[in-house]
Amino acid sequence: MNKHKRIFPSIYICLIFVFLYLPIAVLIVFSFNSVPKSFIWGGFTLDNYAKLFSGNDGGELLSALVTTLKVAAIASVSSTFLATVSCLGLSYYSKKLQTLVLNVTYIPNIMPELVTGISFMLLFVFLGVQKGQVTLVLAHIAFCVPFAVLSINPKLRQLDKNLAEAAQDLGATQFQAITKVILPEIMPGIVSSILLTFTLSVDDYLISNFNVDSTVQTLPMKIYTMAKFGVNPKMNALTAIMFLVIFLLLLAANVRTIAEGREKKKKIREDIRK
């Protein structure tokens, strides 16, 4: 009975796994395809990878990737910084004011992305800022900030208010109390904020699309326009590489967790034996 209970969830997990990874598998397999611009299998080749680093549109793809990564890096770090600083200040406000500020913060979160993109476009027209790199970065920071606040603020709220005061009673200055006591405590929130905003910024198409001119292109935009003229195997190659990199990063980040888990399991087993 117990075994059955465990088999069904496992099968289900596997099925969803296949469902989620099917498109990625297709992309990776066809990155080795020798027939250009199609999804008909023609034989194994590494040409697409070579072309990615030498060819013309391969270079365009790479430069779009670099732009995307740059924008995402700036957007994630600055939105997280802004969110951290303002959440620190916010914790000294009355409950009512806090709720008000947070509610206003979350408005873009529940707006459709498309409408957010349009509203930023209207804003930049209103402010008279020329569309370009600056507006792209600003728009990305702006749509990342609510998510950053969403990840950091709960961590600050969980924090014991007396902690900073205790540190100051023990002789720390106010600055030290923040850097040595509060910041380490909310570090998980800051890290998850950077990760989340980076992910959102890298994958964003709708907001970028309304807030750049033709000179700047992010990777999603580049892929969208490129794929209109047929699928480009270099895109597949790029995806395969990106997937591998992310996969390895994820593994590396989790090696410690796995090791800890194993130790825990060992301990539990030993406990049971005793």
């Binding site: 969830p9 496992s10 289900y12 997990i13 969803i16 796994f17 989620l20 099917l22 498109p23 990625i24 297709v26 992309l27 999804f39 008909i40 299998w41 802004l82 600083v85 303002s86 200040g89 916010l90 000294y92 406000y93 500020v101 206003v104 913060t105 873009p108 529940i110 707006m111 459709p112 992305e113 409408v115 957010t116 349009i118 509203s119 930023f120 209207l122 804003l123 969403l150 990840s151 709960p154 900073a164 106010q174 998850s192 989340l196 992910t199 198409y205 709708l206 999603p220 969208y224 794929a227 699928v231 597949n236 995806t239 990106m242 994820l250 989790n254 967790t257 796995i258 888990g261 399991k265």
Partner: protein
């Protein structure tokens, strides 16, 4: 009995030290001094490579030769010299005041010192801004035949940052002058300004743009956008094999709604059991963050557009699935999955579910994994069977996660037009495409109609979310665990 004395409010600094506002002013002055020696000015000229110089270099050289359109010019810095010197001396003076604050405070009241610092910093700020403005004399422009807007010295990123810092320092110094104590709560002030500019102003602009159109004499009120949108033009649409005659934009909206409702439902139906199974596993194996979960989130980091193209390739006429079926001789001709009405509609929803699944999975998982096993046990002990335990205990307790999952899937999928467009190869029009084409069109009326449509969408979403939120009193219960 000795009563414990509560500690003094921690943010007020003791008087023996330099007050916080003076220290902040000192930091700003120091940074401005440091940046004085770093390349912080950019010379930008049309058709010329940019050159970076520091204030110090300007002072050092006194003049600079520059070739504009093959003619060499000597730029004189005489006009800027006083300001250059001021931007070197003033921060030094500020630093002097800050360092010898205690000694000076014996002779002068603290407020006067703050006022002096504020004035010095204001001078510093003006000097820094005046240097680029005074660098190039007008004669160069006329001689070179270029517009004054073509050639300019501007503070570059570092210089701009310095100016912002100086403004902050100036503010704190003025706070000191006015007797306001610098408080940590002020850290939020820039953010309040940010909210005003990047959240409230855009919202207002959307409402404004729906009713007002820019013309020669400014802005004028018009309802043309509404008229364009609610045009009584009826088109034929097919929903699930039924042909309907609906107003043009309403049918588009209905189709998008159909997609997003099914996406939300599909995600919920797929993700809930999955989250349940994963949470169960995590609890059984005693791991707080499971690697397995990370692998369900990983697809999120692969570009959505590419994954969608892969799906198209999978279901395409000469795609993977058809080739597979053909090679097994299960079918004799390739099936046109993407052209058949029912199937293509289903595939669009399938791909949407595939894309949004992690957004539903995460919040539900994070609630379920925190659920105390003893709660289930208690329900069992009180005589509930498994089904009752789930329906009356587990599911209601996981409601916050479900609701934040719905929020994160329903609303974005409503306007996420790329997937339907790519899968149907442009034959399906969704609300997102409509808004986009309207907004990016040339005619002002169409643009206004686009603004009206986005306003209506916004209102629709806000109402839906409002209804959802009312059933979710426990704010942020789902949350993100990314």
């Amino acid at each position: 009995m000795i009563k414990k004395i509560p500690p003094a409010p921690s943010f007020v600094l003791s008087l023996q030290e330099i007050p916080l506002h003076m220290r902040l002013a000192g930091i700003a002055a120091f940074l401005s001094l440091a940046v004085f020696f770093l390349p912080s000015l950019t010379l930008s000229l049309f058709a010329l490579p940019r050159m970076n110089v520091s204030y110090f270099q300007l002072l050092e050289y006194g003049q600079m030769s520059l070739s504009i359109l093959d003619t060499r010019y000597t730029l004189s810095f005489a006009g800027a010299l006083p300001f250059l010197l001021l931007s070197l001396i003033l921060p030094l003076l500020v630093l002097f005041v800050v360092f010898f604050y205690q000694k000076l405070a014996q002779k002068l009241p603290g407020r006067a010192l703050s006022a002096i610092t504020a004035v010095l910093m204001l001078g510093n700020l003006i000097a820094l801004v005046m240097v680029p403005a005074r660098l190039i004399s007008a004669s160069v422009f006329s001689a070179a035949g270029i517009e004054s807007t073509d050639l300019f010295f501007a503070p570059q990123a570092v210089g701009n940052m310095m100016i912002i810092l100086l403004i902050l320092g100036l503010l704190t110094a003025s706070f000191g002058t006015a007797g306001i104590k610098v408080h940590l709560r002020m850290l939020t002030f820039p953010y309040l300004l940010w909210l005003l500019v990047f959240t409230l102003l855009p919202l207002f602009l959307i409402v404004f743009a729906a009713f007002f159109v820019k013309d020669s004499g400014g802005y004028s009120f018009t309802l043309d956008g509404f008229r364009t949108l609610f045009v009584p033009r009826v088109i034929e649409t097919r929903f699930y094999g039924v042909t309907l005659h609906l107003q043009e934009y309403f049918s588009v909206f209905l189709r998008s709604l159909d997609y997003s409702v099914w996406t939300t439902l599909g995600c919920l139906l797929v993700a809930y059991p999955l989250a349940y199974a994963l949470a169960d596993r995590a609890k059984r194996l005693h791991t707080s963050s499971s690697l397995l979960l990370m692998f369900f989130i990983l697809p999120m980091w692969i570009n959505t557009m590419l994954r969608t193209y892969a799906w198209r390739a999978f279901f395409g006429q000469s795609g993977v699935l058809n080739n597979f079926l053909l090679s097994l001789h299960w079918i004799s001709d390739p099936i046109l999955f993407l052209k058949l009405e029912f199937l293509s509609d289903f595939i669009i929803k399938l791909v949407l579910v595939n894309d949004f699944l992690p957004f539903m999975l995460l919040p539900i998982y994070s609630v379920l994994v925190k659920l105390d096993e003893n709660v289930k046990q208690a329900a069992h002990d009180l005589g509930a069977n498994s089904r009752q335990t789930f329906a009356r205990v587990v599911f209601p307790l996981s409601m916050p996660g479900v609701i934040s999952g719905i929020q994160m899937v329903f609303m974005p999928s409503l306007t996420f037009y790329m997937i339907p467009e790519i899968i149907s190869e442009g034959s399906v029009t969704t609300i997102g495409t409509t808004v986009q084409t309207l907004i990016l069109s040339e005619s002002a009326v169409q643009q206004q109609a686009g603004n009206v449509l986005s306003l209506l969408l916004l209102i629709f979403v806000l109402i839906t979310m409002g209804i959802l939120k009312n059933s979710d009193k426990d704010q942020g219960g789902g949350g993100m665990i990314l």
